[in-house]
Amino acid sequence: MHEPEQLPALVNDDDWLVHRGRYVDTTFLLEVGDTPYLVRIHKGRIESLARGPFVMPRWTFALRADREAWEKFWEPVPEPGFHDVMALIKFRRLTLEGDQHPFMANLLYFKDVLARLRGGAQ
């Protein structure tokens, strides 16, 4: 898997993905085990990604799962049950919190953004 720090480059270098997220303007929390990341998106581009811990984080929605679940999700060909965010939710491995509207209104975009960390160095 790629490390979450690589996410801005992996997303911003893909013009079509950025275009598909052109109405997204939000900050979300990505929690990988004990490590939280704040991801700020403007017009489909990731403007910043900050690694916690944070004292007073502000976000619109949060995706929280343990590291093992994310690592399986980010394998090049994930095993059944770990291959999609909704699958992780169904099997109670991931929680989606906060205002889900931007996430649901741009669901295919966010699924592709998160899947960008698939592959990379093992």
Binding site: V77, V85, M86, A87, F91, Q100, M104, A105, L107, L108
Partner: protein
């Protein structure tokens, strides 16, 4: 000059009375022999079965028939649809399938349904087993636990087509060919407002038959269950539980397959289906 390459599929409209209202249903068919009626998934339409409707081996011995449920594909809703919310119930769904089979004069057809279609074949097995030669449930389970808020599927501030495709995109196996994946999702992007959600009323609320499936008698009508390993809506375990409860049901878990076997990876799906059809037709392909 480019020559037109026509497929063997014939598409027609049929007018008929369903649920005490006039309907105009869209029906596709190809092949000859044993009638094989195909039921599409929630929020989609008959285009999901186009590979099956084009398979020369299957068409040699089966008359493959697929129809769009009312509100789906080219089957428009009945007059007055604008006055209320669309909600599919098990009662209505059974009535629709039985009425179509009767109207077409099908004699003991095979019915194969996927997802909601895979659930309704269980209702058919319980209530009308003697009227069918065999039943095939794809992604078939007796119940599905809701795992997201269905309200997201139909509200004016979220694009219905995009969110429906987004919800089901993970149900396609990650190993599916890209063309099959995105054709499957396109069908979801084209659904009418609230239709996928209305179908799921049957799937998640009304059609729970866990306490009845043990009564299915496979000696009257054989039941085949084929499920994809990547499906987290109807999971392989859901199908295993069902097969455990229904004595004589034949189960296959399909590797590298998700919730939409016939459209996400048609070639691989046909390799699982052809032996089942051979068995049903008594050895012929």
């Amino acid at each position: 000059m480019t020559e037109a390459m026509f497929e063997p599929i014939i598409g027609r409209y049929v007018g008929l009375e369903l649920l005490r209202k006039h309907h105009r249903l869209y029906i596709e068919e190809a092949g000859q022999g044993i009638p094989l009626v195909c039921l599409h998934t929630a929020g989609a339409d008959t285009r999901q079965f186009r590979a099956l409707l084009n398979d020369p081996e299957v068409l040699e011995n089966f008359r493959v028939i697929a129809f769009d449920l009312p509100y789906h594909g080219k089957s428009s809703p009945p007059e007055g649809w604008q006055e209320g919310e669309y909600q599919l119930t098990s009662r209505d769904y059974v009535d629709i399938v039985m009425t179509v089979c009767e109207a077409l004069g099908l004699e003991r057809p095979v019915v194969m349904g996927c997802s909601i279609g895979g659930r309704i074949v269980l209702h058919l097995a319980l209530e009308h087993a003697a009227e069918f030669r065999a039943l095939i449930g794809l992604q078939s389970g007796a119940h599905v636990d809701p795992y997201y808020n269905l309200e997201w599927l139909h509200r004016p501030d979220v694009h219905g087509g995009e969110v429906c495709a987004g919800i089901v995109s993970g149900l396609v196996a990650p190993t599916a060919p890209e063309a099959g994946r995105w054709e499957t999702l396109w069908h979801y992007m084209q659904g009418g407002p609230g239709v996928f959600k209305g179908d799921l009323h049957f799937y998640k609320v009304d059609g729970d038959i866990r306490d009845r499936v043990a009564e299915i008698d496979t000696s009257v009508c054989p039941l085949y269950l084929l499920s994809g390993e990547y499906d987290y809506s109807c999971t392989p375990d859901d199908t295993r539980n069902l097969a455990h409860l229904v004595k004589g049901a034949q189960m296959t878990i399909m590797k590298g397959m998700g919730h939409f076997p016939m459209s996400e990876d048609p070639e691989s799906f046909l390799s699982y289906l052809r032996p089942v059809l051979r068995e049903i037709s008594g050895g012929a392909a």
